[in-house]
């Protein structure tokens, strides 16, 4: 079991409340996944700038001088916003790839959670309520976001095992289910040059979609490809810079409910996750069909 929530806002007036709404949805899904929790949130981002979200097990020693150290290594201005064990580094988009390499030298223990113009990922082990509080998720604004509560099956209960996974700029994936052919795909995707850092099956799913899109597929086509190539159970929710998508495997035993109003499109593993959204009483509520790709973008 696991819990997934997602919210894609159409109404700009709701954007300052995105984090608060997603947090409430996430906490409702605690009994589907009390091991760990994570959220990918999209927002902000200036032209020509990139955001790198990093995580450290020793944030007190890793973070204080990090912006200066990285700035010196890149010869370019870097700013840092710390949130508990995570920090968001703001830097020139042209330096993003170089920054990854520099970080591996400067702070070898650091994990890069995500990079891109708009995405930030926060995830840790613990109850969703506690994870949300540590990062003050409720105070975050944004255009859309995806959250996950984890009950581990395929890999250890660690930060690396928590969702969301990001394997490409501004892309992320959360998953309820288990993939059975992920080891083959991990080897193949690594040969294709994809970056896969954990033993987790979902990260392979994320890398698969990144690879498909790198080869020219649209997100919709990449998700269609997943239906053919990935074996196992999955309800996937995917985020990109300007949209989010949903697909369920053909057996569709992992639950999913969606709701749409003029203000938002929302996803929940269960209807419970959606009950506090504004206007839910009159929203169009439906269960996504098996083996059918759904996608919204702005």
């Amino acid at each position: 079991m696991c819990g997934i929530v997602g919210l894609f806002l159409k109404d700009k007036a709701l954007e300052p409340r995105l984090g608060a709404m997603l947090t409430e949805m996430l906490v409702t899904m605690t009994d589907r996944g009390p091991d760990s929790a994570g959220i990918a949130i999209y927002g902000g981002g200036a032209e020509g700038q990139a955001k790198l979200t990093v995580q450290s097990d020793q944030p007190d020693s890793d973070f204080p001088a990090l912006a200066d150290d990285l700035g010196a290594a890149l010869g370019s201005r870097v700013t840092l916003r710390r949130k508990d064990t995570h920090a968001v580094l703001d830097l020139s988009a042209a330096k993003a790839a170089e920054a990854r390499a520099a970080l591996a030298e400067l702070r070898p223990g650091l994990r890069v959670m995500s990079d891109g113009a708009a995405i930030e990922i926060y995830k840790e082990v613990g109850l969703p309520r506690d994870v949300a509080r540590r990062f003050d998720l409720a105070a975050m604004g944004g255009t859309h976001g995806i959250g996950h509560t984890r009950m581990a099956t395929e890999s250890a209960v660690t930060t690396d095992g928590a969702h969301p996974y990001s394997t490409g700029a501004d892309q992320c994936l959360v998953h309820n289910g288990s993939l059975s052919n992920h080891n083959n795909w991990r080897r193949r995707l690594k040969r294709e040059g994809l970056r896969i850092e954990s033993e987790n099956d979902t990260e392979v799913g994320a890398a698969y979609l990144t690879w498909k899109m790198r080869e020219g597929a649209s997100l919709g086509a990449a998700l269609e490809g997943a239906l053919d190539d990935l074996d196992g159970f999955f309800t996937f929710v995917v985020g990109t810079r300007d949209g989010f998508g949903v697909v369920r495997d053909p057996i569709a035993c992992k639950p999913a409910v969606m709701a749409e109003t003029d203000q938002y499109v929302a996803f929940g593993s269960e209807y419970r996750a959606l009950v506090n959204l504004p206007g839910i009483e009159t929203a169009r509520v439906w269960e996504p069909e098996p083996a059918t790709v759904y996608f919204w973008s702005r």
Binding site: P250, A252, C253, P255, E270, Y271, V275, V285, P290
Partner: protein, 227 residues
């Protein structure tokens, strides 16, 4: 009308109260407010009471029902009326997967659509769906009737025993050992009665009947190489 508000009462209090109603109770009318997708609402009832749930429910609403009538004014999550023994369960909206699974008796009416595995392993329950149903419905159905006013998804009636399936719309595909059968007068009578009890305005003659070809009942020596 007795009212239980789940905004203030706990789920256990609500179920314990409903389960404590005796066969001769005077409190026959109940309503449950603010279900908000909670799991296991109105389960294990065993008295001729009428319970109206005002809103949508989560997993396993009205499971193991006996005698009671449970009416959900919204939609129902997975496993609604699972293992129902008798009584009536009515869902005004849609039902998620495995609605009426393993049900032994009673009537389940779904006014919207039902998702996959509707009536899986049904053992005597009658299910009437006014919309359409998803894949693998009535898988290994042993007894009872499944009536679908809309369409059926893939693999309808796979490995079916003696449950009767009636579909008005299209069937995407039939499962192993499930075949279309002639609609005889006694089937039209069964269907007419079910449609009337479910309050559905449809003519029995518009439906087709599907059932077991009974080829999987006994071991076939020609298949020995497969084992």
């Amino acid at each position: 009308m007795q009212s239980i508000d789940l905004a203030t009462a706990s789920l256990r209090e609500m179920n314990a109260t409903l389960q404590a109603q005796a066969a001769q109770t005077n409190a026959t009318q109940w309503e449950i407010l603010n279900p908000r997708g909670a799991h296991a609402i109105a389960v294990g009832l065993d008295a001729p009471i009428e319970v109206t749930v005002r809103g949508s429910t989560g997993y396993y609403c009205a499971g193991m029902n006996k005698q009671a009538t449970v009416h959900v004014t919204g939609s129902a999550g997975p496993g609604v009326a699972e293992n129902m023994m008798s009584g009536t369960v009515i869902i005004d909206g849609d039902a998620s997967q495995y609605a009426g699974a393993t049900g032994r008796g009673g009537l389940l009416v779904i006014k919207g659509n039902a998702a996959s595995r509707c009536g899986i392993s049904m053992k005597g329950i009658d299910i009437v769906v006014q919309g359409s149903i998803g894949h693998m419905s009535a898988f290994m159905g042993q007894a009872g009737n499944l009536v679908v006013c809309g369409d059926a998804g893939d693999a309808l009636g796979d490995s079916l025993y003696e449950a009767r399936l009636f579909v008005r719309g299209s069937v995407k595909s039939l499962g192993a050992d499930c075949i279309e059968k002639d609609m005889r007068p006694e089937h039209l009578d069964i269907l007419r009665d079910l449609l009337a009890r479910a309050g559905v305005d449809a003519r029995p003659e518009e439906f087709r009947r599907y059932g077991s070809a009974r080829k999987l009942y006994n071991f076939d020596i020609d298949n020995v190489a497969a084992y």
